[in-house]
């Protein structure tokens, strides 16, 4: 098993309370690990620290980017981790109020380097083929999550479930995808779409992408995860096969 993401002794304190206390884990390519535990045990905080949204007080995170060796990414900013394929899907939608659904996906699809900068803007205006291919990709994604009809609606006009779908489409639009951190991905999403999502996640896992999934639904986990990591009060208390 080729290691993809490794965390050693992650500790995060807030106002004296240890939200994470010496958490270590390892995820390999193509491996899906479920993250379980009661509310407040540190699952979301762990994902935040792994994706760069938050910084650990102590500990180290290592990650193997595409065509690269395991690197120490503890000091990498979150955007750099995202560009290297370490993606985080949030529990709450975090949509961009004033942008349309289509623009959400477009923004995520052009996440990397050149298109994101002002010089890239010039290249974008001049290359109609680039625009066409990116737009086509975005349309396919919107079809997949079932939001094609709402492509031009502003994100603030959507229902909660639709907002979560937009977040999912954003995740799927990322140009580089190697390690997914999913925080309750099925919560708030209609059952038909959940089925398709799990199908898709299985395919993605088979292609070598690693996953760390926070999920309360044990049944869903058993269909997807290879192993389960249990947290309690910021510590790892169990690791093993899916029950």
């Amino acid at each position: 098993m080729v290691p993809l993401l490794k965390a050693d002794g992650l500790t995060r304190r807030f106002d004296g309370l240890a939200i994470l206390n010496g958490v270590s884990l390892e995820v390999a390519e193509g491996q899906c690990i479920g993250l379980v535990g009661e509310n407040g045990c540190g699952k979301t905080s762990l994902l935040n620290v792994l994706s760069g949204v938050d910084r650990p007080d102590r500990g180290q995170i290592q990650y193997a980017p595409e065509n690269g060796q395991m690197a120490d990414i503890t000091r990498w900013p979150a955007w750099r981790r995202a560009r290297a394929g370490l993606l985080h899907y949030f529990q709450s939608p975090h949509i961009w109020r004033n942008l349309t659904v289509a623009e959400h996906v477009l923004a995520a699809a052009t996440g990397c380097m050149l298109e994101g900068s002002v010089l890239g803007a010039a290249r974008w205006s001049l290359s109609s083929s680039l625009r066409r291919s990116t737009r086509a990709k975005c349309e396919k994604l919107l079809d997949f999550v079932g939001l094609r009809g709402r492509a031009n609606a502003k994100a603030c006009e959507l229902s909660f479930g639709q907002m979560k779908l937009v977040g999912l489409a954003r995740l799927l639009a990322a140009p580089v995808r190697r390690m997914l951190l999913l925080d309750e991905p099925t919560a708030g999403i209609a059952p038909e779409v959940v089925v398709r999502m799990i199908e898709f996640l299985r395919k993605v896992r088979a292609s070598g992408v690693g996953m760390l999934v926070v999920e309360h639904d044990r049944e869903m986990l058993s269909g997807l995860a290879d192993a389960v990591l249990e947290l309690r009060q910021g510590r790892v208390v169990g690791f093993g096969e899916v029950a």
Binding site: A78, W79, H94, W96, N98, A107, G116, R170
Partner: protein, 288 residues
């Protein structure tokens, strides 16, 4: 007649200022209090290049663009690493410090400023000269507007708006938020510097009083009043700032009070707009 051309020329210059500010305040969602300082950098650099080095307006404005790029890069890179409101504070610091340097250094003429800034030779001094200058400003304004229309739908503009609406999500899709904010500030500064150069050459005499914190505040409010994230809003804001005192003159309000009344009307208008119509009079983005 001259008075009309004067207003029209100033409208174009202020429209450039508002369009520049639009990127930083509207698209990137930052509170920019350094507009007047960037304006000053453009004006003073142009003035010095034209008066001390004897070069023409195009070279002078080129110099102004370079200087403002360097300074904006320094300020931006040092402080935009952190969160959004460090930008507001840093822009305020930039504003005050730049003005202090200008006011206290002889090369800039201190409190007396720089006089005798020439207009471009081809404009001449005859009866058509104001029309010619207006044409010059109009051409530049149109060029900037075209640039805007080109950039508006680009991924970069989307990234800026994303960083404004939800920074966390923007970062999670790989946007280097600190850096694109620096870029927005850079492009803004360039446009504002060009406006500064045109202003210096038009008015032919500049001093620090036109470039203080109060002017930054007025420009910010003008932009918000007109509206952000499109081209109509900033231009409309500029029209308001310039036209209001002129209308007041018609109403026979005596000159010193005109400036006070303009500001009071503006202030009340902005307060009402923020409360009832946060997209301004003609803007696309509701500041909310």
């Amino acid at each position: 007649m001259n008075f009309l051309w004067n207003a029209l020329i100033l409208i174009n210059i202020y429209a450039l200022l508002c369009l520049g500010n639009n990127l930083t305040v509207g698209y990137a969602g930052l509170l920019n209090l350094a507009t007047a300082a960037s304006f000053a950098i453009g004006s003073y650099t142009t003035a010095l290049i034209m008066t001390r080095l004897g070069m023409g307006l195009p070279m002078a404005i080129g110099g102004a663009i370079l200087v403002s790029l360097v300074l904006a890069l320094v300020i931006g890179s040092a402080t935009l690493r952190y969160r959004r409101t460090s930008f507001a504070l840093a822009s305020l610091a930039f504003q005050v410090l730049v003005l202090a340097v200008i006011r206290n250094t002889e090369v800039f003429g201190g409190t007396l400023g720089i006089k005798g800034i020439p207009r471009p030779a081809w404009i001449g001094t005859g009866s058509g000269s104001l029309l010619a200058f207006w044409l010059l400003t109009a051409v530049i304004l149109v060029a900037v507007i075209l640039g805007y229309l080109g950039l508006r739908r680009s991924p970069w503009a989307l990234a800026l708006q994303a960083s404004r609406d939800d920074e966390l999500a923007a970062v999670s899709v790989g946007k280097n938020v600190p850096w694109i904010r620096v870029e927005a500030f850079l492009v803004s500064s360039v446009i504002i510097a060009v406006a500064g150069g045109l202003f210096a050459s038009y008015i032919q005499y500049i001093d620090p009083t036109s470039f203080g914190v109060d002017e930054s505040i007025l420009l910010l409010l003008a932009l918000v009043c007109g509206g952000t994230c499109n081209t109509r809003g900033p231009v409309l804001g500029a029209v308001f700032v310039i036209a209001l005192p002129e209308w007041l003159r018609f109403l026979d309000v005596s000159a010193p009070y005109a400036a006070n009344i303009r500001s009071i009307v503006f202030g009340i208008l902005v307060i009402l707009l923020m409360r009832y119509r946060p997209q301004g009079l003609a803007g696309r983005y509701a500041l909310d």
